[in-house]
Symmetry: C2
Subunit: 206 residues, 2 copies
């Protein structure tokens, strides 16, 4: 099992490699990739050696080979299916951002307690009543839940998702979720990022 930090870097390398490929490049040196990733060249070389890709002295790393090997370690052959709970501003934003973005990251269904949203399609994703979470997760074979509800509701939603069979959670609510062992929880707190930048930017100015 790779460490979380390695997986984070592989995800970032993958996008960097894609950006080179979009520009028509065929190969890149470790120091170039390192600069884009904000890590050292030796870190890049270690990571690439680990996934079985070696660079060549005269041209660096073959980008096609790199892309294949990163994906082999990072991604699955079958798409990972997500569901979203909470189709407010943030939930809608998440649907918009991921709609059609990645063939392997698919938000299959969304849930909300607002009856007005029922059966509506928001950025390619059909919304259901929150009461249908269990049925939909089982029928669609969804493994990951995205929580975009207010903080006070997040723990309750997490429990419903876990009991419906979800194994991974991305939590956008600013609250720690207590879930059983074996459920992977990734927290993303946008307000915290904004407050943190604001705080340190003020210090810079003083």
């Amino acid at each position: 099992m790779l460490p979380e930090k390695t997986i984070e870097r592989l995800s970032l390398y993958r996008r960097i490699v894609e950006n080179y490929q979009i520009k028509g490049e065929k190969s890149a040196y470790s120091h170039e990739i390192a600069k884009s990733a904000g890590v050292t060249s030796s870190q890049v070389r270690r990571d690439f050696m680990f996934i079985g890709t070696n660079g060549r002295a005269n041209s660096g790393y073959d980008l096609d080979e790199l892309a294949v090997n990163i994906e082999k370690h990072l991604l699955s052959d079958t798409p990972d299916k997500f569901c979203l709970v909470g189709v407010g501003n943030l939930g809608t934003a998440i649907l918009a951002f991921f709609h059609g973005r990645r063939a392997n990251l698919i938000i299959k269904t969304a849930f909300d307690k607002d009856p007005e949203l029922e059966n509506k399609i928001v950025h390619g994703c059909r919304c259901y009543s929150i009461d249908e979470v269990e049925r939909a997760i089982k029928e669609e074979n969804i493994s990951i839940g995205i929580i975009a509800v207010p903080a006070a509701e997040a723990q309750g939603v997490a429990e419903v998702l876990v009991s419906a069979g979800i194994r991974g959670i991305i939590n956008f609510a600013p609250v720690h979720l207590n879930v059983t062992d074996g459920i992977f929880v990734e927290n993303v707190d946008l307000t915290m990022h904004f407050e943190k930048v604001a705080h340190f930017t003020r210090l810079v100015e003083k």
Copy 2:
């Protein structure tokens, strides 16, 4: 200067305290706040002692006092002004999420290279041509830039922002920004969070 991790916790505590206040609570014990924040009770007590708030044995921490003291350390008396560069799906999502959310976090203006967006108001925020970044940042006294453009454009945008006088950056593009010392950069990479959850969730299932 407080460490980054402390600032992150203060931001989280602040939301936890607000959630208690919304529920009509007047006080809370350190172990309750610790559970919501996903940290130890002793960490909570240390952090609160640091910001000058002491709990009482019979009722815990006074929530009003806590809120005032957290804000004093975390926030500024004057609102922090942000600008956004890139009004695509993600940029629009960010505008929607922060519109009216926080009196102290205000996205004053947005910039995009699409001429169709010029002078349009998106979720309360007026859009300008990217050519006006320098003028607008100076006129509006904006200190923080949000970068929500594709990776290949992010470094160029960062340079324009910094030369216009920006001191802090929130970077949503999946690429490391090279900026001069003294500019605070906070990276938020949504695709990375999603790929990471997908990766570890598959491991759980195996």
